[in-house]
């Protein structure tokens, strides 16, 4: 007899979404000088959640000026041990408000509450704790102790608060002040983070949050008053940013797209490899820049792996992001859903075989069933372009050398996975894979102590770990 799980929704009552939000500049919420507000929606229901201000050039000026004042008068000259106190305080408040932040993240982004509760928010707190520890030990990190000044930071919608933490924690620890622009579709947790800064008595101007769309981001990174640009997002926008800062004294770090290979050798622990494949591509609906979106499986076990993978995918629970038993939530926006559909359509046209997990998708909201394509070759667009959705391209290989060749044959190089029970093969493969992160017998594992970043078109610079401080220190 079937075991039907009753709905187990996490309560929304812990969040208090205001009807409208201003910009967070110089320690206070202020209205935008000009520009129409934008709406942020719940991707699981298409309901409008709030109106959020769009920062124009005058607002960005104000924010950068506030950050400059705070840098020169307070933060840049504050002893590291004192800065650490604020960062520790922020980390603790994030933990205290973890449930609220997790629920809000799931509402605004569409990701399952299990992930926002167990992955995103704990990692946010961990990043602040970790970099708080570095603030008074910069002399031992090896990158000097002089901050850069004002950092302009633009982050994506896939891990809204976590990407904020990756950007803000090391910047503040090193003595910089920041102006951060959250993604257009997911501004709400960044705005609650602004409240947390107030709650932590962070000096005004150290953190400024300017909401808006692409224009706001462009204005911010092109602003003459910023010393440093940090961006996470698409390779296309990353290129524009690289062009716009060329010839200026601004320092840049870019964390861009990926098309990671997840390589399964025939001697892998198959059941766990299947879990790793699922986690690699269906975690966060595949909205992960380091997602294992290309499965390279050794031909001798390909059929068995695919059988097991399909059986496992049939158990994925797709639906209400706030249900504690949901594995795969909503696609973040109509625009992203359209892109996934287009690329999946191209996959079929190009002759790859499509298989989607049998699941009933809700009528309202943006949804895409977990999908795999078999019979994919290196020449297919779905094997080359980043889909940024729950779509896996399956390729096969016969020899280890062929696996490495195919894995590296991409313009990207953010991450890779190796599945084998043989330790020597892990080391052999890791040495040859041109990717910033290589996971062995696991995937999508993150830790503040571990640096993260790309090769080739996946960007440059590292975030996380001791290495992550380099991006925010002048030497």
């Amino acid at each position: 007899m079937a075991f039907e799980y009753a709905p187990a929704p996490e309560s929304r009552s812990v969040v208090d979404i205001r009807p409208e939000y201003g910009l967070f500049i110089d320690g206070a919420f202020v209205a935008a000088v000009d520009g129409e507000p934008m709406k942020t929606v719940d991707p699981a229901s298409e309901e409008v959640l709030a109106e959020v201000a769009q920062a124009g050039p005058a607002d960005v000026d104000k924010a950068v000026a506030a950050a400059r004042r705070a840098y020169e008068k307070v933060w840049g000259r504050m002893p590291g041990a004192e800065r650490a106190k604020y960062l520790f305080r922020i980390a603790r408040i994030v933990q205290e408000r973890a449930r609220e932040l997790a629920v809000l993240e799931s509402i605004d982004n569409g990701k399952p509450i299990r992930e926002s509760r167990d992955v995103d928010i704990p990692l946010v707190a961990a990043h602040f704790f970790y970099y708080a520890g570095w603030a008074d030990k910069l002399a031992y990190a090896g990158f000097g102790t002089t901050p850069l000044g004002v950092a302009a930071q633009v982050i994506p919608w896939n891990f809204p608060l976590l990407m904020l933490a990756w950007k803000i924690a090391p910047a503040l620890a090193a003595g910089n002040t920041v102006v951060l622009k959250p993604a257009e579709t997911t501004p709400l947790t960044a705005l609650v983070f602004a409240e947390i800064c107030q709650q932590a008595d962070l000096p005004p101007g150290v953190v400024n949050i300017v909401t808006g769309a692409g224009d706001t981001g462009r204005t911010l990174v092109e602003h003459a008053g910023v010393d440093k640009v940090a961006f996470t997002g698409s390779t296309e926008v990353g290129r524009q940013i690289a062009r716009s800062v060329a010839g200026t004294s601004k320092r840049v770090t870019l964390e861009l797209g990926g098309k990671a290979a997840n390589i399964v050798f025939d001697d892998a622990a198959l059941d766990q490899a299947v879990e790793g494949i699922v986690n690699g591509i269906f975690f966060n609906q595949g909205h992960v820049c380091c997602a294992g979106s290309r499965l390279l499986v050794q031909e001798s076990v390909a059929d068995e792996v695919l059988d097991r993978l399909k059986r496992r995918m049939a158990t994925l629970r797709v639906g209400d992001p706030l249900d504690k038993n949901t594995d795969v939530g909503a696609i973040n926006s109509a625009e992203q859903l359209a892109r996934i559909r287009t690329l999946a359509g191209i996959g079929e046209e190009e002759g790859a075989e499509r298989w989607s997990a049998p699941c009933v998708l809700p009528e309202r909201g943006f949804w895409f069933a977990p999908t795999i394509f078999t019979g994919v070759t290196q020449a297919h667009r779905i094997a080359r372009e980043e889909i940024f959705g729950p779509v896996l391209s399956v390729l096969t290989f016969r020899t280890p050398a062929e696996a490495i060749e195919k894995a590296n044959n991409t313009p990207y190089g953010l991450s890779a996975g190796i599945w084998t029970e043989k330790g020597s093969r892990i080391l052999w493969a890791a040495e040859r894979l041109r990717a910033g992160v290589v996971w062995a017998n696991t995937f999508n594992k993150f830790d503040p102590t571990s640096p993260f970043g790309g090769f080739k078109e996946s960007g440059y610079g590292r975030e996380g770990g001791r290495q992550g401080l380099e991006a925010y220190l002048a030497g």
């Binding site: 039907e4 009753a6 187990a8 622990a269 059941d271 766990q272 504690k324």
Partner: protein, 317 residues
């Protein structure tokens, strides 16, 4: 037709220790970190309201209500049997448990009490819990239990032989015990706490299934760690793969250390999302437990009344 394949495979491997070793070593490995992470993720499933009611009743029906103490008496076993048939005297809707599990000397008492009730009588045998006795003694132990009326036998494997790599010896012993069981169902206790690695658990599971075990069981309850979620996950994957390969379905019984309804529901989730509903049945999944039943009853009563009753409202075993 279906069991033919299991028999064919067993016959092919039984003749040669090398073939059996090669086969068991050729099973895909188990990655410890990955298996434990999967089990931990499934343990976060939130089972509420109607799903919880359903799961609690199913869990009660899967309990092998167990007493395996040197101090066991016929009186205690009679009380246990009464409880097995009507776990909650205040609620006639409460289903009976699957079986009562006792030492061989107490089987006649249990048989007399449970006759006609549908509750099975399980007996541990084969020099339980250590298994450290000559094969002839173990087989006599089994025959005595079956002759006394046990319709389920819980045997222990020879862990010493298994860990020494003498797989064929273990195989032959299980075959012999199975034969001594006659019509009684054979549960093979792997004592996973002594096998230590998940690779060993998977190999021992296959060995027991190939040798004809009807159930594979984690533990005697006398060795720590006893049943855990990841060990049970590995065993469930083994019975699933064995059925895919041979067509024969084998049951799974975690035993030892499962004390709360919450734990039991986690196991049901594990079944549901690993092997599916075919195993969500007392014929194919059992809990070897004693104190678990009272917590299940307490939670059932809470679901029905909205209030928790104190432990004095449920009988001690």
């Amino acid at each position: 037709m279906e069991t033919h394949e299991a028999e064919r495979l067993a016959a092919e491997l039984a003749g040669s220790p090398e073939a059996l070793r090669t086969f068991l070593s050729g099973l895909p490995g188990v990655d410890q970190v990955g298996a434990e992470q999967r089990a931990a993720t499934l343990a976060t499933r939130s089972i509420k309201t109607t799903a919880k009611q359903w799961a609690l009743d199913l869990a009660v029906r899967m309990v092998d209500l167990t007493t395996l103490e040197g101090a066991d008496t016929p009186g205690k076993v009679r009380a246990l049997c009464a409880k097995a048939m009507r776990p909650d005297p205040a609620d006639p809707g409460c289903p009976p448990v699957a079986a009562v599990c006792v030492y061989p000397t107490l089987v006649p008492t249990a048989v007399a009490q449970l006759r006609g009730s549908g509750v099975h009588v399980a007996s541990v045998a084969t020099a339980f819990p250590s298994g450290q006795a000559p094969l002839a003694v173990k087989l006599d132990d089994v025959r005595a239990a079956v002759a006394a009326g046990a319709d389920e036998v819980d045997m222990v494997i020879d862990r010493g032989a298994f860990l020494a790599g003498r797989y064929e010896e273990v195989f032959r012993q299980i075959v012999a015990v199975k034969e001594a069981c006659g019509d009684a169902h054979l549960k093979v206790i792997l004592e996973t706490g002594e096998l230590v690695t998940y690779d060993n658990v998977r190999r021992a599971s296959w060995l027991a299934m190939l040798a004809g075990g009807d159930f594979i069981k984690t533990s005697t309850g006398k060795v720590a760690p006893a049943a855990t979620l990841p060990v049970t996950l590995v065993m469930l994957e083994a019975v699933r793969d064995f059925r895919d390969r041979t067509g024969r379905q084998v049951g799974v019984k975690p035993a030892g250390g499962i004390r709360t309804a919450k734990d039991a529901i986690r196991y049901l989730v594990l079944i549901n999302e690993t092997v599916g509903e075919d195993w969500l049945d007392p014929r194919w999944f059992r809990f070897g437990a004693s104190s678990l039943l009272n917590d299940l009853l307490m939670q059932r009563a809470k679901m029905a009344t909205g209030r928790y009753a104190g432990p004095d409202y449920f009988t001690l075993d």
